[in-house]
Each structure stands twice: as structure tokens, then as C-alpha cells.
């Protein structure tokens, strides 16, 4: 897919922006992946940029097709997973807990 030049409306996305977004989304993208994905994302973004300004300020947003409010259930105890079941898919478990790598970075 050819490289797509940035458009005047800013509806384009640079390789650096993709790298930043991948960082926010906690995905380690390699250089090769950035080269591959960034131009594709630009093409997609250009095509969806047409949506800007379609709906006026007076149009309410829809977050959900069938709006429901205050959906409660009865406050009764129901069976849940056992600790063994809850931990059954864990990459690592210890003393009935999920075992995880250190949570602080080197600089912290």
C-alpha cells in the first residue's frame, strides 16, 4: 500500500503518532510493524474523517441502541467461581492468588 500524504484537515496519522498510541495501548510495535500499520491507519482515518461536522450541536449522542437505566437485580447471594476456577487460566498463581511481575518500573 502506498504512503498517503497528510491531508490539510489533519485527517492523517504519522508514524510517530502511531508509536505513541501503541504505547498508550500497551502494545510493543516493532519498526517493521509501524512501517506496515501507520500508512494503513492513515487511509482508514481519511475515510472516516468525513464524519466531522455531519451532526449539529442539537443532535443528542447515542451510546446504546436500547437505552435502559437503573438495571438492578435482587440483593441475594448467588454462587460464584471457586478460587481454583478463578485461577484456572492464570499464567502463574501462588497461594490462591494471581502471581504477577513487579509492578513498578526501574525508574520508580
Amino acid at each position: 500500500m502506498p504512503d498517503t500524504p497528510p491531508t490539510a484537515g489533519g485527517a492523517s496519522i504519522s508514524r510517530e503518532q502511531v508509536a505513541h498510541l501503541a504505547d498508550l495501548a500497551r502494545i510493543d510495535l516493532s519498526d517493521a510493524e509501524l512501517d506496515h500499520l501507520a500508512p494503513q491507519l492513515s487511509v482508514i482515518l481519511e475515510s472516516i474523517a468525513s464524519i466531522q461536522g455531519v451532526a449539529g450541536d442539537d443532535i443528542p449522542p447515542t451510546s446504546h441502541p436500547v437505552p435502559l437505566t437503573n438495571v438492578f437485580r435482587d440483593d441475594v447471594v448467588v454462587p460464584g467461581l471457586t478460587p481454583e476456577e478463578a485461577l484456572s487460566g492464570a499464567p502463574e498463581a501462588e497461594q490462591q492468588r494471581f502471581s504477577v511481575p513487579r509492578i513498578l518500573g526501574e525508574e520508580q
Partner: protein, 504 residues
Amino acid sequence: MTGGSQTTAAWLADELEAGRTTSVEVTQRHLDRIADVDGQVHAFLHVDAEGALEQAAASDARRADGAPRSALDGVPIAVKDVLATRGLPTTCGSKILEGWIPPYDATVVRRLREAGLPILGKTNMDEFAMGSSTEHSAYGPTRNPWDLDRIPGGSGGGSAAAVAAYEAPLAIGTDTGGSIRQPGAVTGTVGVKPTYGGVSRYGLVALANSLDQAGPVTRTVLDAALLHEVVGGHDPLDSTSIDQPVPALVDAVRQGATGDLSGVRIGVVTELGGEGYQAGVLTRFQESVDLMVKAGAEVVEVSCPSFVHALATYYLILPAEASSNLAKFDAMRYGLRVVPEGSPSAEDVMRATRDAGFGDEVKRRIILGTYALSSGYYDAYYGQAQKVRTLITRDFEAAFGQADVLVSPTAPTTAFKLGEKLDDPLAMYLNDLATIPANLSGVPGISVPSGLADEDGLPTGIQILAPTMADDRVYRVGAALEALLLDKWGAPLLDRATGLEGAP
């Protein structure tokens, strides 16, 4: 016996009820068929022969006691791999969930078990249901039983191909932007997206919560109604589930099957046709509309001007929701964990795992969603998409003021060749042009086979949409059209599928 047009789920249920066959026999035949053809089709990611036969034997025991749990007790089914199945692997077509065995059942799966349907296995899909061809599965594509070099549609290509190849009489799919209906159209099968909230999403691994809906994948409209009545209805475990009775769907099919459409107003949506649609698809569509007119229907042309923005709206709302939903794959509690060298932090592990575990399309959509939700872009993109969603719903409301159901081709083209659009995301997205509006608005829709395109001899589908909670209308009109077309063809469309050696 698994092949041939008489083996519908309804027919199998009658045979079981009459004692002319057993669930073990029926289930074994389908397992044999899977063993024979799935090497070519690759509809299944996991086959549970032992479990299915055990469930079949239990069903036979219930039938022998005169206590079947439902009309479909003993009729086997395949389940899309996006639904949690206790004790059976659930991968969503992703490496990040390879080998994960859920400790619980999705509500849809629990209802299948409670109704006595043996579960044959889990069907292939685009990774996390992102795609229209099943090529984005991390475990390799499914092939179309009509032509093994072509895609079976997606994301639920596995469920549609399994049913089209007679590997299963019934399957469950999920439809976020067309993932039940579009595979139905390109494989010559029937697929129904119920009203949003009509079938529980509990245990359905979410792609986009406000769009996802599970539903039936079958060879006939009656089979879809029978299955829909089993899995549909309110579920307290899904707070978006609609607390109202499911309409009488099987009755609606029986009414429709008379082929009489007197008094039914059919709306042809101007914006869902014309440019971008293959000639043969449009020819078969018009033919179906003409048949419905002959059967007494009144046709009106309706315009839904905001539908031209549906694709853009969808590709903002879906990635936004998906990027949030997939944040849970963090390598801590379940699924893949990749540990880089040295002394990595949890965040390092997360980054490495998500890079290794997600495929290209998933990465594209997560990044797109992260972008759309970023401060500075939120109002221009995501906020705007939510407003256009309102406009699309208003278009539907106006259209349903003029017509009882709306119709369009289900997919703009017939099945394309494997690999043809794999690295051209935008071309891939266009497959869902006609199906996406229903998801944005929550309305129900069915895809019914409408014939074969003249230019390539491949199946085409017609989509019928109805207002929210009027699922019975899509079944009534779908069954009527199915009956009219069957009368014209003389035999079901699938009898003409010749992609598989020795099939059916």
C-alpha cells in the same frame, strides 16, 4: 444422511421425536462428516466428539423416558469460538487466548445445554470477531464450501461454513456489524441478528458492547426460529438484556411459509444498493423483490440519508469500544504471558504479550480506538459518531413509518478470493456496508439466500430488517421469500454447492 436438503434441524427433531433415529446416531454422523470434510473447510477450531456423544446419549435417555427438554433436544450444534464454554477451549480466534478453558458457560451456551443440544465444537472466526472473511483468525482461514479458494465471510465464517458444509445442522454466530448475516449471504445459508438485547451477551467475549448480538446460523428460516426461541429472552446476568418475552418466532415462520405477503409493506432502501454492488447481487435482489410483490407485498422506496455515514460511524464506535474491551488482555489473570528478557515490569510483560498475542487487524483497531478516544480528537470523532448514530436511528424510525420491513442486498459482492483484501483494510470494511446500520440502531435482521450471481455462480443474500423487538417480522417475511424461492428453484440452493469433494 448428513448431506441432502432434507436434513434440517426441524426434520431431525421430528425424526428424534418419532423415534426413527437417535441423537447418538445423528451426532455421530455429523462428527463423521466433520472428520471427512473439515480438513478442507477448516470451520472448526475445536471438535468435542466425546462430550457431544455423551450429551447425545443423555438426550436419548430423556427421549426414551418421554421427557425431552425442548423440541431441539438431541439436535447437535456448533458454537462460535467467541462464546465461553465451560471445559472447552475458547480462543476467539486469537493467540492471546490459545488454550484458555473458561470456568463458566455463556448464557447462550447454558441455554443450549439446558435445551439438550449436544455441542459438536467451536467454530473459527476472525480474531475477536474483527473481519469479514475469517482470514484474520490466528489459526488460519475457513474456506467457503462453494469454492475452497474463496472466503466464507466473517467474522463468523466458521459457523456459516460448518452449516453450509453439513458439518452441523445448526450453529451460533455473533453479529457486531454483519458477522452473522454476511457469512450467511456468501455461503448460501440463513443468518439472523436478533434485536440488540434480545439474546444475552453474558459470556460473549465483547468486541463492541453496544453492537454485539448473538444469533442463529442455519440452513432454513424455520431452523433459525427454533434456535432463536431456545437462546433468546431476558437474562439478569446481562444488564442490557431486554426484559420482555421473545415474540412467537416459529409461529411467524409458519405464517410466512404460506408464501402470502398480502398487506406487507416492503421498503427498499435507496442508499443500500447501486454503486459498489455487484451486478449479479443486484439482479438476484430485484428478483426477490419482484417475487414478494407477486405474493401480495407492496413495495415502497425509502431513503435513509444518514446511512452513507454508517461505515465511518461504525469504524469509530467499534474501535473505541474494542480498544477498551481488549484492555483486559493484560497477561495477568488468564491467557498468554510473554516475559521479555531481563527483569521486566508488569507493564513490559503486558506490552510484549499484547504485541505477540494480537494480530494485525486487532492492533489496527485498538490503535484507531485509542486515537478516537484521545483528548483533542474525542469530540471530532467519537462524539460525532455517537450523534450520527442518533441520525441513523431516526432514519430507521422514519423508514419504518412507511414500511413494515426494509430490504437490501446483504453483502455488496459474492465471496471473494482468499488473500484478495487481506492487507487492504478499507476494501475489507466495505463488505459490511449494508449490514452495519442495523447494529448501530439495534434493529433485527435476517439474511436469506437469494440465488446465485450470474457472473460467478456464487451465492447472494437478501437482508430483511424490522423495528426493534419486531423480530417476528423478519422471520415471517424471510420464511415467505424462502418458500417463494424454493418453489422457483425446485430444490434448496445448497444442493447446488459443488466446492467439496463428495459433498452433499
